[in-house]
Point group: C2
Chain length 349, copies 2
Amino acid sequence: MRREALPPDDPAPAVVPPWYDGSVPADARPAVTLEHVARAAGVSRATASRALTGGGPVSTETQRQVRAAAETLGYVADPVARALVSGRGTRLLVAVVSDSPDVLCWYLARVVTAGAQVLAPEGLGVGVVPVPRQRPAGVLDALARDRTVGGIVLVNTTEQVLAELPRGLVGRTVSIGVGSATVPAVDVDGAGAARRRVEHLVRSGRRRIAMITGPSWLPCTHRPVAAFRAAVREAGLPVRVVPGGFCAADGAAGAATVLARWPDTDAIVASCDEVAFGALAALRRSGRSVPGDVAVAGFDDVPAAELTELTTTTHPVEDIATSAVRAVLDGARDELRYFPSELVVRASA
Amino acid sequence: MRREALPPDDPAPAVVPPWYDGSVPADARPAVTLEHVARAAGVSRATASRALTGGGPVSTETQRQVRAAAETLGYVADPVARALVSGRGTRLLVAVVSDSPDVLCWYLARVVTAGAQVLAPEGLGVGVVPVPRQRPAGVLDALARDRTVGGIVLVNTTEQVLAELPRGLVGRTVSIGVGSATVPAVDVDGAGAARRRVEHLVRSGRRRIAMITGPSWLPCTHRPVAAFRAAVREAGLPVRVVPGGFCAADGAAGAATVLARWPDTDAIVASCDEVAFGALAALRRSGRSVPGDVAVAGFDDVPAAELTELTTTTHPVEDIATSAVRAVLDGARDELRYFPSELVVRASA
DNA sequence: TTGAAAGCGCTAACAG
DNA sequence: CTGTTAGCGCTTTCAA
C-alpha cells in the first residue's frame, strides 16, 4: 500500500501511481495531504481531521501539535475531498432574482468578481444562476439538492424568494438587499444615501425636490424611498415621488412625469446613476439646464458619473459582496449590516 | 451494505445514513448516482462510467442502453466525485497577469462573470488569481499542483507567462490575448478595429491621425499598433504613434505628447475608451474642440462612451470569455481566434 | 480522548 | 468488451 511505504518526511512521494500517468499530470496531486500532517504530528488521520476542523473532541495539546504540523507542512485541506464526504460543496452560487435570462449587468459582475477573489484562496469557485422572480421554488429546490453548491448569495432578493427558500439552504444563504428571520442580509445604506442627497440639495438652496424610485418589486428599494420622504418632510418641503426603475429609460420617463406633474421642480434624486443619466437627457430635451434650473443627484458612483460630472453617492459593491460571501462561509448567522454610502459632490447638484 | 439493499427502481433511497443527520441536510445528496444508472441498464458501474464518459471500450448497444437509462433517470455525474478521482478539478481560474494586487476592473469583471455563467450549469465554478508579471513561475506552478483547478484562462498574457507555463497546465489553459504553440488564444480583432477607425477618419477628411497605444508590456496591444501604422501609411498619411496605456491618465498624457510633437494633429485613435476620455479632457484643456479641431475615437464601447457621444469600436468581451472558457473545457487545442470589432460612429469622430 | 474502519460517487487498472 | 477491485483525500461513526 502506497500510504504505508510513505516516509513521514516526504511530503511529495516519488512513486507515482500508474493511473496518474495518463492524461492527468503527475504534479496535479496535492503536495501535502492530511496523512502527512497526521504522521508528522504522530496521530491518526481521524484525530488530525478533528484537530483541524474542530469537529470533535481533541486534547488541547494534540490540537496544538497537529496545527503546528499543518502549518509547517503548508497543509491546505482539499476542498474536493472535503466536499465529497461532507456534502459541503465546492462552489458558491450568486443567485440573481430576475425575469430576464440576461442577468449580466455591471453590478452583478462586480459582485461575482469580488466573490471569486474571496473564494479563490479557499479552493472554491463561484457560479451565477438566474432565479425566476415569479416561481423561484423550482430553481431553489434544485440548488438545495445540488451537492456542489456550498452556499448562496442572493441578489435582487424578493419577499417571495425569502419565503420559499428551502430549509436545506438556511444557514448557508446570505442576501444582498433585504433579509428575513433565517436569511441574514447585507446592503448599502440606501436610506442614508437618500437623506444625504436631500440634505445637500436643501443646503444648496433647492426647495422642490423630486425622487425617481427604483423598481417597486424590489424590496430593498423601499428604504431609500421612505428615507427620502422623511427627509423632505422634515425640511418642510413637499413630498414628490414618482416610480422608476434602474435603467436610463426609467430615468427619462420619470423625469418627464416629474416635470409634467410639478413643473417647478428644482432638483431630482435618482435611484441610481443610470436613471440619473436618463433624467439628465430628458431634462435637456425639455430645455432645462443642469444644475441651473434643476439639480440632479444619482446613486452608485459609476465611472461614467465622474466623466459626466454627476453628483452622486457611493456604493461599495465589492465590500458588500465580500462581506456577503464571508458570511456564507461563516455559517450565515450574522445580523443585517448596512455599508455606508458617501456623498460625492460634482457639477450636477 | 446500503448499496446492496437498494431497490433498482428507487433513485432516492429512503434510508438516510446517520452521518447525514447532522449539519448537512439530507436532501443535499444526489438524487441519482451512477450506481442507479448502472443497475437500470443492467451493467456494472465501470461499464456505465465508460459508456457515459467515452473513456474506454463499450459496445454500441450497451452504450445506447446506459445513455437511455441515464436520460430517463435524469442522471448528472457529480463533479465533486469526478474531480476527486480524476484530478480534473472543480473550478476554472482566471489568472490575471498584473503588477498590482488590485486586479479588479470592469474588463476582468466581465470575463469572470461570463465564465461563471458558462460553468455554473456544469457544476463548476470560477476563481480569480493574480499572477505577478515579473516572476510568474511560482504562482503558475502552484496552480498546476492544485487539484481543485480544472483549467486556466489567462488574461493580460505576456510572453514570459507563456514561456513559463508549467507542462501540467498545457492542454487546459487558454489565453485571452496572445497565445503560443501550446496555448491557444482568443482575442478581439484589435487590428481590424484600428484599421476601421483610420478608414472612418480618413473618409471624414482627417489627414493627420495620431495613435495613443496600450501598455507596451502587453503583447496583444502590438497588433493594433502595427495595423494602425499600416493603415495610415497605406492612406499616404504620416505615422504618428505615442506610447500610452489603458487609463484616463495615459490618455491625457498621450494627447499632451501628441499635441506637443505634432500640433496640427486632427484626429486621435485611442487604445481604449478610458484613454479616449483622458485625451478628450486634455484636448479641451488645450482649447481644442472635439470633433471640430480634433476627432477622437476609442475602443471597447463601454457604457460611458454612449453617454459622452464617443465614437468607438465594440469589444465583445462576453463572447470572447465564453469562447475561452469553452475552449478550456474542450481540451484547449483550438486555434487562435479573433472576434470582430465593429465601428460605432457617434459625435466625437 | 483517540484510532480503526467505512465510505462519499466516481474513474481506471487489470483480469477475464 | 465487461466486471471486479482499488482507491482519490477527507470526515465521521464506533469501539476502545
